[in-house]
């Protein structure tokens, strides 16, 4: 390359790096920079905060438990049985990651709502899901499952097949092989996947508001509380947002300690 062309190429990279880097950083900086301590503390006293925080913790814990338990078993099956069914299952498990959350909310309503495909059946047995706390859990589990499942499949695939055969010859049942060999060896990837999945569930907004509504104490999670607070008091919305950002940073920091080798945001997970 000619010196001048090389110089232009260097400059283009530099410009892109600086502008995109600033663009990604600025909104986060703005959240912190434009709020005084007293406004922050005032925002923390907002009556929306406590119920939303509690609800977010409870529902994301439930959705994470569902996703991790069912997702691990599905991922193990897919990773251990290559074939058309597995490829199909893998694709299905990625659907929620590529459809817009609002569309997911409509879908959930049409599936589990009172007159939904499965909801009508539940309704006849006196079970109503839509606009309840369990609906929040379902919405969070739906949108966050792909993050865990994808990471779990990748980690399980990396477990040496020979170790599993040898575990079998040493008398271990398929379940014990999974528990004693597969799980521990895939653990770093599973932890990273669970964390990303949890982060996605905490931030879930679109599917929740459509399928579960925005009822304080019952279905109003942190992102919905931010949205509600915005209408009356920007400072309160900002304080709630800061709590979410700090939680995300703490999570990332812990992850780098717990699972240093694991893939973190962006490497194999698509953002929603």
């Amino acid at each position: 390359m000619k010196p001048r062309a090389a110089g232009a190429w260097e400059a283009a990279q530099l410009l892109a790096t600086v502008s995109l880097g600033l663009f990604l950083l600025l909104p986060v900086v703005a959240l912190f920079a434009t709020l005084s301590w007293s406004d922050f503390l005032g925002g923390l006293r907002d009556p929306l905060l406590a119920p939303a925080l509690r609800l977010s913790l409870v529902t994301t814990t439930c959705s994470l438990a569902i996703v991790v338990v069912l997702g691990s078993l599905l991922a193990w099956r897919v990773a251990r049985n290559p074939g058309r069914l597995s490829r199909w299952l893998e694709a299905v498990s990625q659907i929620p990651a590529v459809i817009p959350p609002a569309v997911a909310g409509v879908g959930l309503l049409l599936a589990f709502g009172r007159r939904g495909l499965f909801g009508a059946f539940l309704d006849r047995h006196g079970i109503a899901l839509a606009f309840t706390t369990p609906a929040v859990v379902l919405a969070e589990a739906f949108v966050s499952a792909p993050f865990f499942v994808q990471a779990a499949i990748a980690s399980f695939r990396r477990v040496d097949q020979n170790l599993l055969v040898v575990a079998g010859t040493l008398g271990a049942s398929p379940f014990r092989t999974f528990l004693r060999v597969g799980l521990p060896l895939a653990a770093p990837g599973l932890v990273a996947g669970a964390a990303m999945s949890w982060a996605r569930a905490v931030g879930e907004f679109g599917a929740t508001i459509l399928f579960a509504g925005n009822l304080t104490g019952r279905t109003q999670t942190m992102p919905l509380a931010v949205y509600t607070a915005m209408e009356s008091d920007l400072r309160a919305a900002q304080a709630l947002s800061i709590i979410l950002v700090v939680a995300a940073f703490v999570l990332l920091f812990i992850l780098r300690r717990v699972a240093p080798g694991a893939e973190l945001p962006g490497s194999e997970l698509r953002g929603a």
Binding site: V165, T169, P184
Partner: protein, 235 residues
């Protein structure tokens, strides 16, 4: 006594093997792609024969007619893959105890310790596999497999991942151990030097046993160019 009569088609390979082992060591030799690894997988039970029968000490492990296919974990076979497959997240002692689940803890500890010591690696019990040499790994893997009192031993290229010095040393040790254990042992190898381990050699080519006998017998009348190449004197 391990009796094998299996048929399996897999890709290009049309495997039909009849072989019987008493309390002796049989070396299964053959070029790459001859079906040696497939044979091991059929014996282990991770791959099912299309037809045939496998029996160990009179107990049927596989029989397509009687629809018997004993699960891997119930075959009581010891298997040593090429890389020894030690569990990297468990220390040597826990590796050795892995196959003893169901026994009281004292008994597990006792048996694992005994076998690790017998194979000369008792001092490594707190170490983890990634920090061991190839030779140490092989000894630990053998101890782990034998602590279960298996009924037969299957070794896949037992020295392929060792350096030449460790290879010579362990070959001598393994020959002694095999003589003392008196188990039916099947060693898959493409290395002619491994012939010294065996009472008998079975040469497999293109999925068939083309010749079997002692090293001397094979030398006297080699059935194929592979056999004559394999048994040629190197000393």
């Amino acid at each position: 006594m391990l009796e094998i009569a299996v048929a399996r088609r897999i890709g290009e390979l049309d495997l039909r093997i009849d072989l019987a082992l008493g309390r002796e060591t049989v070396l299964v030799a053959g070029p790459n792609g001859a079906g040696k690894s497939t044979l091991l997988r059929l014996l282990l039970g991770v791959l099912s024969p299309d037809a045939g029968r496998i029996a160990l000490d009179g107990e049927v492990l596989f029989d397509d007619v009687a629809r018997i296919d004993v699960a891997v974990e119930e075959r009581e076979l010891a298997y040593l893959p090429q890389d020894y497959a030690l569990f990297p997240h468990l220390d040597v002692m826990r590796n050795a105890m892995f196959g003893l689940a169901g026994l009281p803890r004292e008994e597990r500890l006792h048996r694992a310790t005994e076998w690790l010591e017998r194979l000369g690696v008792g001092n490594l019990s707190r170490r983890f596999p990634p920090g061991l040499s190839g030779g140490e790994r092989q000894r630990v893997a053998l101890a782990r497999a034998l602590a279960r009192n298996p009924r037969a031993l299957l070794l896949d290229e037992p020295f392929a991942s060792l350096d030449p010095v460790a290879r010579r040393e362990l070959r001598v040790s393994l020959r002694g151990w095999l003589r003392s254990w008196r188990l039916p042992a099947l060693i898959v190898s493409h290395d002619p030097a491994d012939a010294v381990l065996a009472d008998r050699i079975a040469v497999v080519e293109k999925g068939r046993v083309v010749q079997q006998g002692t090293l001397d017998e094979l030398r006297q009348s080699a059935a194929s160019s592979f056999v004559s190449g394999f048994v040629v004197r190197r000393d």
